[in-house]
């Protein structure tokens, strides 16, 4: 009888471990804005020093998207303005809104990366 209880427990632990592994696998595959941003910003993140501050501009004015970009970039500080010499321009493909083309005057594109959801540009003001 005692042996049977141990067997029941063992089976339960195995079932639990399998279910948990499946769920962790699902979380791994989960796609949210942060994972999409990580994907498009990954090459830029590798380029930059960590003690660096950049400005941020996007065709999507959502505060959430800016906060998520800051999360992806931290400890690099990303400011929601165009004051710094280096500017990140994030194009949200799901939004029709475009940045005024005059904005790009006097700036050079250092890098450009694309994903299915976003386009990321690393811009620098011409000195």
């Amino acid at each position: 009888m005692e042996f049977l209880k141990y067997i029941i427990l063992l089976i339960l632990v195995i079932i639990f471990s399998i279910l948990l592994s499946i769920r962790i696998g699902e979380i791994k595959e989960e796609k949210n804005n942060i994972t999409k941003l990580e994907q498009v910003f990954f090459p830029i993140l590798k380029l930059q020093r960590k003690d660096f501050t950049a400005s941020y501009i996007s065709n999507n004015s959502s505060t959430e998207l800016y906060y998520q970009t800051q999360f992806v970039f931290s400890p690099i500080i990303i400011e929601n303005n165009t004051d710094n010499d280096t500017i990140l321009y994030l194009l949200d493909k799901q939004i029709d809104n475009k940045i005024d083309s005059h904005f790009f005057v006097g700036k050079i594109v250092l890098k450009k990366y694309k994903s299915d959801f976003f386009e990321a540009y690393l811009l620098k003001k011409k000195s």
Partner: protein, 414 residues
């Protein structure tokens, strides 16, 4: 490196456990575990602040705790009874379901505040050279003045595994849920009622969901519960174990290192202990709390920018205090949140009022009630839009006190 961190942590947990005098307290191993979480967050904070290698500190701590364990010839006198019966199998099944439900609600990087505040801060602390960039007004929206317990520990674990991984905050935030389950289960003498209590938690999807958000409120709720359970035990034993009064000081003060609201809870606990006990006991409590208070003050003085609620006060504050519509709105939101998210509070309050109780309410209950009153009072003077502030935070504040409320209610009713 994760192995080194784990071994060191286990050694210090056993060491603190050996110093807890009364092993009949509610879950002494949980108390030891909690104190060590606090200790390791301080250790990493010092390592960053004074630019000392964190592994060096961990190795020192490992040798120190190992040495003390050998010198004291610590013997684990508690025999581990692992009798498998149907009640223990049922308990294990329920705990597994609770954990699984937690994982069902967990998500990559958590809910808004988790990635915008807690996990964001942890990412800063992962980098030895750049962590102080967090304390800038450029990202004031991420509340850099918030205490560091959770971000530091997540960053320390990331460091020990060598990368920033989304699974760490998910698993880390399971700790307070398991802690709450253990303490509530141990709070009742009957194993059958213990099972009922576990079932109660299992079916409370909103409670499990709050822990899965990865907000620091889960740890606040856990440390509040630990403080209340320790206080209840100490009142029951008439404070005969002096060391446990020091432990109470440490545990109560720990909440200020987790979230700013912890200050309210700590000050109320201090006041209540001061009013109902002699000054010697109060002094012991304060001495226990002192290291945590000093480190917290150091952080606030040296690094933290001003808090938004305090710095946002102006001459309009008086008008807000005199505006009775604000009080009505707060009470309306409070009732709606209790009714929709925590209906069991209403049930337990009615049961406590209408059941002839064998036990009497002691002053530990006052700590919870007064904390809630002060929480609600803060909303009167908030510089933010009141509706927005209530909508985004009141449910979490009630959640912080909810496990402690359940603990006291079950103690009274069983």
């Amino acid at each position: 490196m994760l192995l080194l961190l784990t071994i060191s942590f286990l050694c210090t947990v056993i060491l603190v456990f050996s110093y807890i005098e009364n092993k009949n307290l509610t879950a002494p191993i949980v108390i030891s575990f909690s104190i060590n979480l606090l200790l390791y967050s301080f250790l990493y904070f010092f390592s960053l602040t004074f630019k000392i290698n964190s592994y060096l500190l961990i190795i020192c701590l490992l040798f120190f705790s190992g040495f003390l364990l050998i010198v004291n010839r610590m013997k684990i006198t508690q025999k581990v009874n692992f009798n498998i019966n149907y009640i223990s199998i049922s308990s294990i099944i329920i705990v597994m379901i609770i954990v699984y439900k937690y994982f069902l609600r967990a998500s990559k990087w958590g809910q808004w505040d988790a990635w915008a505040i807690w996990n964001l801060h942890a990412k800063f602390f992962y980098y030895d050279e750049n962590w102080h960039q967090l304390f800038t007004n450029k990202i004031a929206w991420s509340h850099p003045d918030y205490p560091l317990f959770q971000p530091l520990l997540i960053a320390l674990i990331w460091k020990s595994i060598g990368s920033i991984n989304y699974l760490v905050p998910i698993i880390f935030n399971l700790i307070p849920l398991i802690g709450v389950v253990i303490i509530l289960n141990k709070s009742v003498n009957s194993k059958v009622i213990g099972i009922v209590l576990l079932l109660f938690i299992m079916f409370d999807s909103k409670l499990i969901g709050f822990f899965a958000t990865q907000y620091a409120d889960g740890f606040v709720a856990f440390y509040y519960l630990l403080t209340i359970s320790l206080l209840v035990d100490l009142i029951r034993t008439k404070f005969e174990n002096k060391i446990n009064v020091y432990l109470l000081g440490i545990i109560a003060a720990a909440s200020i290192w987790i979230k700013n609201e912890g200050m309210i809870f700590f000050i109320i606990t201090c006041t209540i202990i001061f009013i109902f006990n002699d000054y010697k006991l109060f002094l012991r409590f304060l001495i226990g709390a002192l290291p945590v208070l000093l480190i917290f003050m150091f952080f606030k003085y040296v690094f933290a920018p001003p808090n938004d609620i305090i710095s946002g006060q102006s001459t309009k504050t008086i008008d807000k205090i005199l505006d009775y519509n604000r009080y009505l709105l707060i009470l309306k939101y409070f009732w709606n949140i209790v009714w929709n998210n925590f209906p069991s509070i209403i049930l337990f309050v009615l049961l406590i009022i209408f059941t002839p109780l064998k036990k009497r309410l002691n002053y530990s209950f006052l700590v919870i009630v007064l904390s809630l009153v002060v929480y609600l009072s803060i909303y009167i003077i908030t510089p933010h839009d009141l509706k927005w502030h209530l909508e985004t935070s009141l449910d979490r504040l009630i959640f912080q006190l909810y496990p402690s409320f359940l603990f006291i209610s079950f103690k009274l009713l069983t």
